[in-house]
């Protein structure tokens, strides 16, 4: 939904603009809006297309099996191995991200958990963990709180504070979404177990807000774009505001391959990208903010190596691409007597944070949250929702299989566990030495192996989730296998934030230690993983970085 009649700016590549933002997603959209409203000229280069809300479809096959709005492993191949000493293989793993204007904020589930105070100071609270890069953030929850509030109020978030939440300066702008059947079962059972359920805060409108419609409960949140604009994606919220300034151009189908540096001054001077026709263009700029996600941001820096930066741009620490974190994810499922119809409305409506904090008494580091959520879309449920979960003795075809689908689809819910991942230097994004993408650029290679504590945390939370489903009276309840991670949508930690240039890539204002007019802001800035719902913190960081970058620009400090 564009602001009608807004004179969206148009720049030529040879025009010298104040800022190029690479990526228009959860962070990039906010940075663009903050800088354009502060009076700067901004070009946002987005590799994907621009879709308007009327173009989003309820098409599971296209969106989940045909890469409808996500990166395409055929044109943008990736290679994976668990450890750096193994040969990385194509198709063995996958880092997935939304590839369109609005990025991940368009297709995410819209879970909108703030971090807790502990997330920023965990290493000093629990002590270091040998063999890991476990560290405190250079900023605290108090530093970020005003920006959490700003995000919730500018974008539109529905919720009520829970008993474990960190202090907030302002209530949520909107009441929580209506409870679902899964939420009722989960809430009653977890209370009986002495736990403290709360409504899930969601970046989805429970009431009309900011000229946008409320949610219509169609059920197509996770993985889909909202045809009503009720999900608070940057596409519907801050991007139209940025464009309405007349100083911001969103340029879709623009795939960036290199940030150019003046070898003498060490400053970023331009951004080279392929346009829709795969013709190379060079946008001149006074500064660059990369918001391309925790996979593509480090890849772009590594692709931008030069005489001055032989190991990759802004990589004097050697940490660009390192400390990749996913968040652990595992589930327990339950099928009940009566109808849940979880395929209606938002993905999740109740959660617990009782096990959020790590506890040394458990014998391992880690914590997380559990939410009560839907059982998947029809194809996904028929393919794996039943067979992957109910065990090897359950039918996968035939009359009994059909009966199982028929009886269980509208009566099943999951309790999903979202957990910590420790930062390990060997878990990393790098460039594949041989494989190229369709633009002739080095393919993304990644290595990842869960820390034993990450797996222990997942199993610990999963046992709690299973106990809740059993207490809720599930006719059948089960725990899905917890296996090593090879697939992720939360892409975190690969250009970590810190005060010391030897042990971090960006400073506390998201400026790279090495290049004065180069900033990075997205999941790559994370020092620790949080508990599985990173978007809220990515967006708070983006508001904070945007405000500071505008101040630096005003003071001539860029």
């Amino acid at each position: 939904m564009r602001v009608s009649g807004s004179p969206s700016a148009r720049f030529r590549p040879r025009d010298l603009v104040d800022v190029v933002v690479v990526g228009s997603g959860a962070a990039g959209g906010i940075v663009a809006k903050e800088l354009a409203t502060a009076g700067l000229t901004v070009v946002v280069l987005e590799q994907g297309p621009r879709l308007e809300r009327q173009q989003f479809e309820h098409d599971e096959f296209k969106y989940f099996f045909r890469n409808g709005i996500v990166n395409d492993p055929e044109r943008q191949p990736q290679t994976f191995a668990p450890t750096p000493d193994q040969q990385a293989k194509r198709g063995a793993g996958r880092l997935m991200y939304a590839r369109l204007v609005g990025g991940g904020s368009v297709h995410f589930t819209a879970n909108y958990w703030r971090f807790h105070e502990i997330d920023f100071v965990e290493a000093s609270r629990h002590g270091s963990i040998s063999g890991t890069g476990f560290a405190d953030w250079p900023i605290t929850y108090a530093d970020l709180e005003p920006y959490y509030t700003k995000a919730e109020w500018e974008l539109g978030v529905s919720g009520v504070p829970g008993p474990f939440d960190a202090p907030r300066s302002r209530a949520y702008p909107l009441p929580p979404m209506p409870v679902k059947a899964s939420g009722v079962l989960f809430e009653e059972a977890s209370r009986r177990l002495g736990l403290h359920p709360q409504p899930v805060p969601l970046a989805i409108l429970s009431e009309p807000f900011g000229g946008r419609m409320a949610c219509h409960h169609c059920g197509f949140c996770l993985g889909f774009g909202c045809e009503f604009g009720a999900k608070s994606a940057t596409l519907y919220t801050v991007i139209p505001v940025a464009e309405a300034t007349g100083r911001c151009e969103i340029r879709p189908q623009s795939y960036v391959r290199r940030i150019e540096i003046d070898e003498r001054t060490g400053r970023a001077t331009g951004v080279i990208y392929f346009d829709e026709q795969k013709i190379e263009q060079r946008q001149r700029t006074r500064s660059v903010v990369v918001c391309a996600n925790g996979a593509e941001t480090p890849r772009l820096l590594l692709m931008s190596r030069s005489n001055r930066f032989p190991d990759g741009l802004a990589n004097s620490s050697g940490l660009v691409g390192k400390y990749l974190m996913f968040n652990g994810y595992c589930t327990a499922g339950g099928t009940f007597e009566r109808l849940l119809n979880e395929w209606k409305s938002v993905t999740a409506s109740r959660m617990i944070h009782d096990f959020y904090d790590a506890d040394p008494a458990r014998g391992f580091y880690g914590g997380g949250g559990i939410d009560a959520r839907f059982a998947g879309y029809p194809m996904g449920f028929a393919l794996g929702g039943v067979i992957g979960t109910l065990g090897p003795d359950m039918p996968t075809w035939g009359a009994d299989y059909k009966r199982l689908l028929r009886e269980s689809y509208s009566r099943t819910m999951y309790a999903a566990c979202h957990t910590t991942s420790l930062p390990l230097a060997a878990n990393a994004v790098s460039l594949d030495p041989t494989l190229k993408d369709d633009w002739g650029q080095p393919a993304l290679r990644f290595t990842y192996q869960d820390h034993p504590d990450d797996l222990a945390t997942m199993r610990f939370l999963q046992a709690k989730a299973l106990a809740i489903l059993e207490a809720a009276g599930a006719r059948r309840a089960w725990a899905d296998p917890v296996n090593p991670s090879t697939f992720a949508v939360h892409l975190l930690g690969t250009c970590r934030m810190g005060d010391d240039p030897r042990t971090s890539v960006v400073d506390r204002y998201n400026r790279t230690h090495d290049v004065r007019n180069l900033f990075l802001c997205d999941g790559s800035s994370f020092v620790t993983s949080g508990r599985g719902q990173p978007t809220c913190t990515i967006q708070a960081l983006a508001y904070r970085a945007g405000e500071h970058i505008a101040q630096f620009a005003r003071r001539g400090e860029i």
């Binding site: 099996f65 028929r406 697939f487």
Partner: protein, 196 residues
């Protein structure tokens, strides 16, 4: 793509649990279920004119899919039009998978001949014998491809040429609408007090 899907399904399922199994994506954006074809299928066109399959192959595919999701008091894969969905897919965006399906069908029919000489093709077997043979091959890539195709052809959006008259969604009790109101299920209705 279908075999590829099964490989990816295995690792995604293994790594991320049930929900993420839906997050497996297959090969490229050669998007394009021809909507015209889908409309033709929906409209019905009397004697089936197959785009890719021979009449015999189509009958086998139809029979296999009908064993994977049989018809009972509700429609199954046959009524959903899985054979037409697969035929059209192999003629358009899944052309690269043609050999996998034809060689898989050939292999299956060789097994039919070995087991029951002189009987003919899979489609002409009794239902009991069809099930017996499919149990033997259920771990093969071909059967897994057929299972995926059956699920896609039954439960994907009808715009892809299957799920005719939303037959698949009726099995699940699922309805694709843009608009629902609470209460959504029985348990939340109990609490909010309003009837469904």
């Amino acid at each position: 793509m279908l075999e590829d899907v099964m490989h990816r399904r295995a690792f995604v399922l293994a790594s991320c649990g049930a929900f993420a199994s839906a997050w497996l994506a297959t090969d490229p954006g050669k998007l394009g279920a021809s909507l015209a074809h889908a409309a033709r299928v929906r409209a019905g066109r009397g004697a089936q004119a197959w785009e890719f399959f021979t009449v015999d192959q189509a009958a086998d595919v139809d029979a296999i899919s009908a064993q994977i999701l049989p018809t009972d008091d509700l429609p199954g894969a046959r009524e959903a039009g899985v054979a037409q969905f697969l035929d059209h897919s192999l003629s358009t965006w899944a052309q690269g998978q043609r050999d996998d399906f034809t060689s898989g069908l050939d292999d299956l029919n060789r097994r039919v001949g070995d087991r029951w000489p002189g009987v003919g093709r899979f489609a002409t077997l009794s239902s009991e014998r069809q099930i017996e043979l499919l149990r033997v091959v259920e771990q093969t890539p071909f059967f897994q491809m057929m299972r995926f195709a059956t699920i896609a052809g039954t439960f994907a959006n009808p715009s892809w040429g299957g799920n005719r008259d939303k037959a698949g969604w009726r099995i699940l009790g699922f309805e694709d609408r843009f608009f629902w109101e609470p209460p959504f299920g029985d348990y939340d209705a109990d609490v909010t007090g309003s009837g469904k």
